[in-house]
Symmetry: C2
Subunit: 140 residues, 2 copies
């Protein structure tokens, strides 16, 4: 089956790049540095539905992304989560959290409506992230 990004994910994000078989997306919510990884396999809802090989590759990419985000933004904590109650396509959230951010210390989901990036700032953040992820194996 051909893979296509779920329309809700496509609407909520912009592309930052990709690893082999994994899309790297930036959420448009400016409240938090928020990156989403989506394995490009059609019809997958759960991490355990992935092949052994791809789930381990996803973990390696996830750890690389989380570590790079934490270092780049000086985050106090990374939140990494596969929820998917609303959007059935498997997607893995990576959110850089800071003491005193809008939802701290709670979870971000449902805490606040998304906040748009100011003009030019979404593109700037996208560029920052491309730089932060550039050393990661397979990122392009």
């Amino acid at each position: 089956m051909t893979f296509s990004l779920h329309p809700r994910i496509a609407a909520d994000t912009v592309s930052v790049g990709r690893f082999p078989s994994v899309a790297v997306l930036l959420h448009r919510d400016a409240r938090y540095p928020w990156v989403i990884l989506v394995p490009e396999v059609e019809g997958i809802r759960e991490i355990h539905d992935l092949s052994h090989e791809l789930r381990h590759a996803l973990l390696d990419h996830s750890c690389g992304v989380a570590e790079a985000m934490q270092r780049h933004f000086g985050a106090d904590k990374m939140n990494v989560a596969a929820l998917g109650n609303m959007v059935p396509q498997l997607h893995l959230h990576h959110v850089a959290r800071f003491e005193g951010d809008a939802a701290w210390p709670g979870a971000i989901w449902g805490a606040h409506p998304p906040l748009d990036y100011a003009s030019g700032e979404l593109e700037a953040r996208r560029g920052e992230l491309r730089g932060a992820f550039a050393p990661l194996p397979g990122f392009g």
Copy 2:
């Protein structure tokens, strides 16, 4: 360093068993079947702080636990998350979600105060889970 479970996690859970180097815990909140995996390594906050070997072992155990929970409870969705904004010790949530459950389709964290299991039901669920996890490699 000797590992000890964070007191908040110890207070909120009961032991279901363990994998090598990973504790398997049942959350005392009866609203959701909710299992927490804790790598028994002192001073770790993030998945990416684990060694390559242990993070991959954690993923294998996580997938086994999530798949067994989904099958056993007939869950509509598994939520798998490493948050840790309040409790610094790395712990990985596995929550079986059902359309129409107390927080559906939102995230469970912060949605409701915990609900105690009725007398005997916590022990019953613990036994159920031990049975569901018994076939998983390394579980005991």
